[in-house]
């Protein structure tokens, strides 16, 4: 058993793999095609402006004490954060299949680094959106920084967990991906992005509150407005609980099907 000394520790290996994968993903995502990075940021902006346009046509200026533009911006950013991380993670395995030829690269590494990169891109995007909104002179004040970070991280973790679970399931049962596409479409409408959850009558309100994304988005809005009124039942614990469950389930699936994921 000689020569063990020059073996790197598992932690060193994992960190170097994450770093390499992160750079690789960033290069592919940001430099491929013309001004790819611009489109990444423009997409949420265009969606927000589009919705603002028809809401302003309805003469709705504010929702429960929050300016409509800011309300939309935060809702869409939160939803995009979850959705984009989830989607990117889900496709992480197919996109990186060639790299699993190296013993040190595990499928879970690809999922985690994709989430990190997407989270980073979305954080920059929301930062830029805030600057745009501020320069337009809209009343944007970050009243509770820690709360904003908690909601933001919670939504990211939820996206990571969801992506992690379905990265395995989609790989083992490719048909699920097609189903998932139209199953997640309504998620957009029941996440409190387009209309306030407080205005939804029972029993639908209770059902909507099962969706953990709602909790994250409402907390995000709350962090940006002291006067914003929302459902008193929203809970960060619930958001983090869901995120944790998804992540644990995802890790377990990755562990269980470790060999199948790279040999199929």
């Amino acid at each position: 058993m000689e020569k063990v000394s020059n073996l790197r520790s598992p932690l060193t290996i994992t960190l170097s793999v994450w770093k390499a994968l992160f750079i690789r993903e960033a290069v592919t995502r940001l430099s491929m095609g013309r001004v790819a990075w611009l489109w990444l940021m423009l997409e949420p902006l265009i969606v927000i402006i589009f919705h603002l346009y028809w809401y302003s046509a309805l003469h709705i200026g504010s929702i429960y004490g929050m300016d409509i533009a800011i309300w939309f911006m935060l809702g869409f950013s939160g939803y995009f954060l979850f959705n984009r991380i989830g989607k990117q993670c889900m496709n992480a395995l197919n996109a990186n299949q060639a790299l699993f030829a190296y013993q040190v690269v595990k499928p879970i590494d690809a999922v985690i680094t994709r989430a990190a990169l997407e989270g980073f891109i979305m954080t920059v995007t929301i930062g830029l959106l805030c600057i745009v909104i501020k320069t337009l002179g809209l009343p944007l004040y970050l009243s509770n920084f820690m709360l904003a970070i908690s909601a933001w991280v919670g939504l990211s973790l939820l996206g990571l967990g969801y992506g992690m679970v379905f990265s395995v399931i989609n790989h083992l049962v490719p048909e699920v991906e097609k189903l998932l596409n139209f199953m997640t479409f309504p998620l957009y409408f029941i996440s409190g992005v387009l209309f306030p959850v407080l205005g939804v009558p029972e029993p639908y309100h209770g059902w909507i509150m099962i969706n953990p994304i709602v909790h994250g988005i409402e907390y995000l809005r709350l962090a940006f407005g002291n006067s914003y009124i929302t459902d008193p039942n929203i809970s960060l614990n619930y958001l983090y609980g869901c995120a944790l469950s998804f992540n644990l389930l995802g890790l377990a699936l990755h562990k269980k099907y470790a060999v199948k994921l790279v040999t199929l």
Binding site: K3, S16, L99, Y102, Q103, V259, T263
Partner: protein, 334 residues
């Protein structure tokens, strides 16, 4: 040290699980020993190398590596098509923790691969040869304790093969090798010990020469064992006839390849010609029995080369070094 514990491997096919390629292999490959993998085509050499290199996993059993083992070199796999050669090289250096001197390593890779400006083009624009050259160069630039190679000389042209062999010689002392090769001289040149693969089972030999001897015994290896004077004689004859006509040149090159132990496929007319030329040169092109087909026969004496007729496409014949498959066909004819 690499420990192989009761490893089984089969591949999934369209008709369910395939045959067992590896059937319960257990052995320990000691550190710092160069090992040659010997076996007929389809014996599972590449499969075993892929498992040892960790790019594939056993169906049953486990492989423990307590050293840094490379992936099988020169196959051209493990490169991301959308990224450039340089980006791929950087990625691999990073995951193997060679970031501190990455510039030197990249320069070394660029220098060794010799793919010119293509180094900064996406991999998807590469030819197979370019891919395997790049991958081979990257493998060498990363420090491993054990390098795995499927046919040392598989990558690239003659000049690159020479370079690869020199690189392997330089590795001796620093790292060890596990190689699969058909060429006896390559095995003897690089390896101390040998693994003989036969019908899914593996046998370990401390001495590579013993492994080769055993392989010949079981597989009737048909590399022509000519004395050096005989070889020169044939070479001279080949040389003197070279410019006569084109079909003769083809026949001669086929025979040359046959002498090197490579399987060759020629069409029917060429095949007839090859046999005629071989006879003229005084070479015994004999099969392990009488093979009746297309109007000529092969007689058994020694076993230098075997001519196998492709059953599906009559106009093709295969010149093979004899393996079990050929013998079976011969037996049927008898």
């Amino acid at each position: 040290m690499i420990q192989i514990n009761d490893v089984y491997k089969r591949y999934r096919t369209e008709h369910g699980p395939g045959r067992w390629v590896l059937n319960g292999i257990s052995m320990t490959i000691p550190p710092k020993v160069n090992v040659g993998l010997i076996g007929a085509n389809g014996a599972g050499k590449s499969t075993l190398l892929r498992l040892i290199g960790g790019i594939d996993h056993p169906t049953k059993g486990s492989i423990k590596r307590e050293t840094r083992v490379s992936w099988p070199m020169g196959l051209g796999s493990g490169l991301q098509p959308s990224l450039t050669g340089r980006q791929n090289a950087k990625f691999i250096c990073r995951i193997y923790g060679q970031e501190f001197n990455i510039h030197d390593r990249i320069a070394q890779i660029q220098d060794f691969a010799e793919i010119g400006a293509a180094f900064d083009e996406p991999i998807k624009t590469y030819s197979t040869g370019m891919k395997s050259r790049l991958q081979f160069a990257i493998s060498l630039a990363v420090d491993f304790d054990v390098y795995i190679s499927d046919e040392v000389t598989a990558a690239g042209d003659a000049a690159f093969r020479k370079k690869a062999e020199t690189a392997f010689e330089n590795l001796i002392g620093r790292s060890s090798l596990i190689i699969a090769a058909h060429s006896e001289s390559t095995l003897k040149q690089f390896c101390k010990s040998g693994i003989l693969l036969n019908e899914g089972a593996a046998h370990w030999f401390e001495d590579i020469n013993e492994a080769i001897r055993e392989y010949k015994k079981t597989h009737l290896i048909n590399q022509i064992e000519l004395t050096s004077t005989e070889q020169t004689k044939i070479a001279k004859k080949i040389e003197s006839k070279k410019e006569k006509n084109e079909s003769l040149a083809i026949a001669l090159s086929v025979l040359n390849k046959g002498l090197a132990g490579e399987p060759i496929k020629v069409n029917h007319d060429q095949g007839v010609h090859v046999l005629a030329v071989a006879k003229e040169l005084g070479m015994h092109l004999l099969g392990p029995g009488m093979i009746k087909n297309q109007g000529y026969q092969l007689k058994s004496e020694a076993m230098p080369l075997v001519i196998k007729f492709n059953q599906k496409m009559n106009k093709y014949i295969n010149l093979y070094d004899a393996n079990t498959q050929c013998i079976k066909i011969a037996e049927e004819v008898n």
